[in-house]
């Protein structure tokens, strides 16, 4: 059984309209962090939902999603949630639930028979890892959007899944917490040999923390590869409709400097090959 994640010919559509068409991703090794980039509506969230088995209106995708030798397409959701942890784009709602209960329910809903000691130890570990212990007994409605996003992340991490699918996990966070989240995800992927796929808008954070970058656009992969090679001005123009440069900062990271938005005509050009 080969370890890792690969996508073969994944297609997803809404009501007859193809959102993703024949999408391939070469094998990604355990311990990798993959960034999904692309403009709004490029299909990042759709792809993550399809991988999580939450197609909704899109229904079941066609193609293969191979995780550690097993095809996730067609695998019952109850079985899939044991291997896959998905963080939705929507923040946990501001209810009267205490943060600890929200994370506890995430474990119990998936694994109701786990011994209590084990569950409590897992929750304490993830609260410590994310620095959330001061929030543990606060109600969700009392937390800020960013704090609730962190609780959502804790709900995913507490189950220690083999594949983490994070849909814009830093969208509500300030700079410090953005770095905290990505450093944590990086550390977990390295330590647990899990694979993490992150849909993210901040290209520079993606280039800094991810091993592999996938740029989506026009329903398919526009570019894919390590951060040092995947992005250039052409890819950015076709993916985002912007004029931008890719440079190297003094610490060796690739850095994208966006100069200006191109008129719509430039964006609607023939899909990038």
């Amino acid at each position: 059984m080969s370890a890792g994640l690969s996508l073969n010919g994944i297609s997803v559509g809404y009501g007859g309209r193809a959102v993703l068409s024949g999408l391939d991703l070469p094998a990604v090794a355990p311990g990798s962090v993959v960034a999904l980039l692309g403009a709004n509506g490029a299909g990042k969230s759709t792809l993550l939902k399809a991988m999580a088995g939450l197609g909704g209106a899109t229904g079941r995708p066609s193609g293969q999603i191979i995780l550690n030798g097993q095809d996730l397409v067609g695998m019952p959701l109850e079985q899939r949630v044991h291997a896959v942890g998905y963080l939705p784009q929507a923040l946990p709602q501001g209810s009267s639930l205490v943060a600890y209960e929200a994370v506890l329910s995430a474990v119990r809903a998936v694994r109701p028979d786990t011994p209590r000691d084990h569950v409590e130890a897992s929750i304490e570990r993830v609260f410590d890892t994310l620095g959330l212990r001061p929030l543990a007994l606060r109600r969700l409605r009392e937390l800020s959007g960013g704090q609730r996003q962190m609780i959502g992340l804790a709900q995913v991490l507490v189950r220690n899944p083999r594949l983490l699918l994070l849909d814009e996990p830093t969208s509500a966070l300030d700079l410090r917490w953005q770095l905290t989240v990505l450093e944590t995800v990086r550390r977990i992927a390295d330590a647990e040999r899990s694979i993490c796929v992150i849909a993210i808008h901040d290209i520079n954070l993606a280039l800094r923390f991810c091993d592999h970058v996938v740029v989506l656009g026009h329903g398919r992969v526009l570019a894919s590869g390590p951060p040092t090679h995947a992005l250039d001005s052409d890819v950015l123009r076709h993916a985002y409709g912007i004029e931008a440069r890719v440079e190297q900062c003094s610490r060796g990271f690739r850095l994208v400097l966006a100069d200006r938005a191109l008129p719509d005509a430039g964006r609607a050009a023939t899909p990038f090959q």
């Binding site: 899939r80 639930l97 205490v98 209960e101 329910s105 995430a106 809903a109 959502g152």
Partner: protein, 272 residues
């Protein structure tokens, strides 16, 4: 009877507020009460009779069938058009208006005697209780409460957000439809025997939520308990407010419930 009806409607209200993610949801939001009233009214006005079954049970039976039937229709519509919370609530409101319109029609054509009987039924009263009826409501509660408690983790997870719950492998649509069916049985079982009792199922979950939070291991039984306690107190009040006169408990509950609900909104509104 007050304990059982209060517990059944308190539990039904709590479950409904969770699956519809709406603090104003109650068994009455979906027109369950209006449907029960219509069913009872039809039996009264048509003077239906079934050999071997007296009117004492035929009227509640009519109420029960209509209440469950209304939820079945909503479920079928919701299943066809997508069982989101908004869809279910909208169909429920439509059902409420439809049932009320039909009820007015029945009242319009009813005889004076039948009309008086219908009005008395809709006021809600524990005075018609017998041990047989208590046993039926107890059986309904005895079946539904354990089924509710089996899904406490899914319900708790749902309070953290629908997308989050789905990501834990919970089939939210299926959960919602099953809970609504259970709620209709609970509400219909209770309302069928005692008539309409206002504010039940609406206020009590809020009290339980404020006292116990939303971990459904405690919230669901807490809401049932709050329901039992409040309706019992209302029942005692209905017998003692005016010496020598037993007021319909539905009136007392509504009169007590409205200021209580307003107080909750004004003092704790941000926490509901």
């Amino acid at each position: 009877m007050a304990v059982l009806v209060g517990a059944a409607l308190g539990l039904a209200g709590a479950e409904m507020q969770t699956v519809l993610n709406n603090p104003l949801a109650s068994p009455f939001t979906l027109g369950v009460s209006a449907a029960a009233t219509l069913g009872a009214s039809l039996v009264i006005v048509m003077d239906l009779s079934v050999p071997g079954i007296g009117a004492t049970y035929l009227i509640p039976a009519g109420a029960f069938v209509f209440a469950v039937g209304s939820v079945m229709i909503i479920q079928m519509l919701a299943r066809s058009f997508g069982a989101t919370t908004d869809t279910v609530v909208l169909f429920g409101i439509a059902m409420l208006f439809a049932m009320n319109a039909l009820l007015w029609l029945v009242q319009y054509v009813a005889s004076t005697d039948a009309l008086q009987q219908m009005v008395f039924w809709t006021m809600g009263s524990l005075g018609r209780s017998t041990w047989d009826k208590v046993a039926v409501v107890a059986a309904v509660l005895g079946v539904c409460l354990p089924l509710s408690m089996r899904k406490v983790w899914a319900m708790t997870a749902l309070r953290g957000g629908e997308d989050q719950a789905k990501s834990f492998g919970i089939s939210v649509e299926t959960l919602r439809l099953r809970v609504l069916l259970r709620v209709s049985i609970l509400a219909a079982g209770a309302v069928a025997f005692v008539g309409t009792i206002g504010f039940i199922g609406l206020v009590r979950p809020h009290i339980a939520r404020l006292a116990l939070g939303e971990d459904h291991r405690f919230y669901l039984p807490g809401s049932a308990l709050a329901g039992a306690l409040l309706l019992s107190l209302a029942s005692i009040a209905s017998k003692n407010l005016i010496p020598g006169l037993i007021l319909p408990v539905g009136i007392v509950m509504a009169l007590v419930g409205i200021p209580l609900f307003m107080t909750l909104i004004l003092t704790q509104g941000r926490k509901l």
